[in-house]
Symmetry: D2
Subunit: 272 residues, 4 copies
């Protein structure tokens, strides 16, 4: 091969004086291994974005190095290991900032409430981190059941209910288990939901949700109350999207809260 | 411009002896005007596929002509006008078969059941036809409410319910109004659903659906019973996808039926 | 109807002391009319989110009022009219903050570069505004063609190229035409693209793009240079997603820039 | 628990005289293990549909049993094992027909053509079977590169090219490796594509695709020629969707062919 053909244009000088905030690969589908509290590890399939910044004097980045780094780390993606990935990106791409984002389905073996029948239940997770911050961001999307308090109150019998997606997004530095986020979310709704249910379970959930009506506003408030009490959370945003059974659109609510001030107060007290 | 550069490769001879069933353009987004029973016409935005067959001796078709035909007819898409589109495709592309498919949101002004408040309600429609057949195929996806009879029966109070998408697909030669298909679908469920509801409407729907529980199997059977009685329908398939509020997956049922035999019997009797 | 059934639970007191940042309706599909520079108005179909904040002492909002407001304004959605929608939301929902977001396909009649054949070309737009700010945010997603400079440089002939989506997001207070954003975007790539092309047009675009190679980094820098010069823009973010023809993932770049400081400097100089 | 609440409504008599073609669960996301020619097995995440027919006299099916069967077989999904799943469905649901459909991303370690750098490449697979037939249906969606012969021919330099999705769907009774389908598909285009490429690979692919231009019609014809020669294939459909770099829509072609007659002729000759 004639080497003169292979000039490295990407490394050439750029005179537009414009640094690029993020450049890299987006939407690559990749098999990965993540941590699983019950089983140690879990195989799943992720969609990944990886970006670095590009100083103004360089024309382009080197796209193949992102894939090399992803491939190297694919068997150990976790909230802590993500720092090693970011470090490799900074080193290999000779860059000042690195960003890593990964979306994946996460499965938990869940037992039905009465029959105890077991099946896998899916929760979508989004994990991201940036070399700019010491924290990571973890989002867990938890499907739950919501039963409308207004409908129950004004109706002679019954109450409309529906599947809701309660998304909990947190910033943290220490390890937070996906399972703990799910637990908070599932307790915030009228009932949690299951992949497998026998008739005795269906009775249980129907009655539990009727006894436990929540507006979309209640769901996010319930979750916010619990998240405020959890250790290690620096910031959170909870949003619920109720796929209303009486409409063809969703009801939505969101609460966002920075707990750093609270945590500092706590630390100050504890250090006295 | 040097004309020798513009050789028409598509028209050249192909010696692989393989006719192509369908060739054309797919997934073009286009603004169109469709018939509206209440208002005469309705503006909407469609996603369109247009294909012809290609005899074995030709290497390629002429893609730009599909867009010319779509652009020419975009202000009058209907179950009847679709024949003119197919004819233009056969003529312009010098082909033996033509296929036209269009997906679009269709809106109906719908009044709440008690308060009579009005808003637009969306129904997704798929209209397709082929020069091979005299009929067209029309699918209407109707969101409805389904309340589970089992949950109601076994529970001390309440019953799980959810949004379902009831898709009715018909073959017909004569004009069938989208509105008539929607009407059949909405009567097959526990209740129809609305874009706007006041408290008195919410009470009405909650109670109506509790009085009217249906399994996913009941929904498609109810729709099938009605479709069997509708004039002009040659064949139908109804499917319901219930986005279960107690699961993170759907319950599904489907019935398909060819009514040509029945219609022939009827005609025979009528002609005696 | 017995009025005791219709208690207004939403208005009751909530003691969890948690205000809600956003509550409302999400993902409602609605037919709307938007401004069109060439034709005055344009009919399209939008997906809409509408939220207000909810003070801590109230348990819930009134979902039906959002739909009433949307229905009232649906025939005149524009970057300026959006202020009236926000005002109606504040008034009708008795709230301190209001947020409005709308996504819609926007069509422009575009002529092929040589043959001048005309067809409609789609651009996805996202318009949002909040009562908290005086500006609106407008995002326009523009499909373009990108041809790789490295591939051209190192190869004996040819160069890989692909469809890219160049998304330009701006904040502005004054009216900015969608058409002007599109124009900036289309000039930033190897070539703009078309719904209809004849052979002479295809030759033109193939050669133009080969003469005009751009990395994903170049595209966003080119757009950023133009946006810095446009009047009325307070802030922008441009991102390009190149659906690489040699990979099954995208190359991505993004530049974000706040122009308020620059504009203030300019104003200061002008006012001297 | 009071057993009178748990009446089995699903098993009750239905008098509408309408058998249901398909009833079951749809769109459940589940972790599964599939066969992998290189590594023995592969962990992936699937989306699954499972249906049975329901005779006219029964009101409903038993949804939980589908999940039990899926959970039981999830660690060994294959073109052959699918018969055992169907048999369990027939037995457990006491039904006359069973249908199983599964969509999953499948990954192959692929080496770049010159540098031999390795990374995982994703191919979407759809496997389905019905107790009604002895064959299974396997679809593999293979992303490839297509370079336009017309653009190359008429232009002074360059040629537009793009990512295409070539979907090969086959019916077979014997085991056909996903890898063999992928191999046929990748040879039918201008070039195959890769997750990781170094500059020398990029040069190789750019030149290879320029030397090897194909229309969307050529791609499906090339694949059809190869599939006709493969052992064990009873029927196939190949379709290519070229995400045109010069348009915002796709070019599309499809060929469908039943090889049972051909195979019978071959068998007859061989048996002489």
């Amino acid at each position: 091969m004639n080497k003169k053909y292979l000039r490295d244009i990407q490394s050439e000088y750029d005179d537009r004086n414009l640094p690029i905030n993020k450049v890299g690969v987006k939407d690559i589908s990749y098999p990965v291994v993540v941590l699983d509290r019950a089983d140690g590890i879990q195989h799943t399939v992720a969609r990944v974005n990886m970006y670095v910044n590009l100083p103004h004097q360089f024309r382009g980045t080197h796209m193949s190095r992102f894939i090399e780094i992803l491939n190297k780390h694919r068997n150990g993606i976790s909230t802590l290991n993500i720092r090693k990935i970011l470090k490799d990106m900074l080193d290999e791409l000779d860059s000042g900032q690195a960003h890593f984002e990964i979306v994946f389905p996460y499965f938990i073996t869940k037992s039905a409430p009465v029959s105890k029948e077991q099946a896998k239940m899916e929760y979508t997770c989004v994990l991201s981190a940036s070399s700019e911050n010491d924290y990571y961001t973890l989002e867990v999307r938890v499907p739950v059941l919501s039963l409308c308090p207004c409908s129950k109150e004004i109706s002679a019998y019954g109450a409309h209910n529906q599947r809701s997606i309660l998304s909990v997004k947190i910033q943290a530095e220490e390890k937070i288990w996906i399972e703990d986020i799910i637990s908070v979310a599932e307790k915030s709704a009228s009932s949690d939901i299951y992949s497998i249910l026998k008739r005795e379970d269906e009775k249980f959930i129907t009655e539990k949700s009727y006894e436990n009506p929540v507006f979309v506003e209640d769901i996010v408030r319930n979750a916010a109350v619990s998240l405020q009490e959890m250790d290690g959370i620096l910031w959170f945003s909870v949003e619920s999207e109720n796929m209303e059974s009486i409409h063809n659109h969703s009801a939505y609510a969101q609460i966002e809260m920075d707990l750093r001030a609270k945590n500092q107060n706590k630390n100050t007290k504890e250090n006295r």
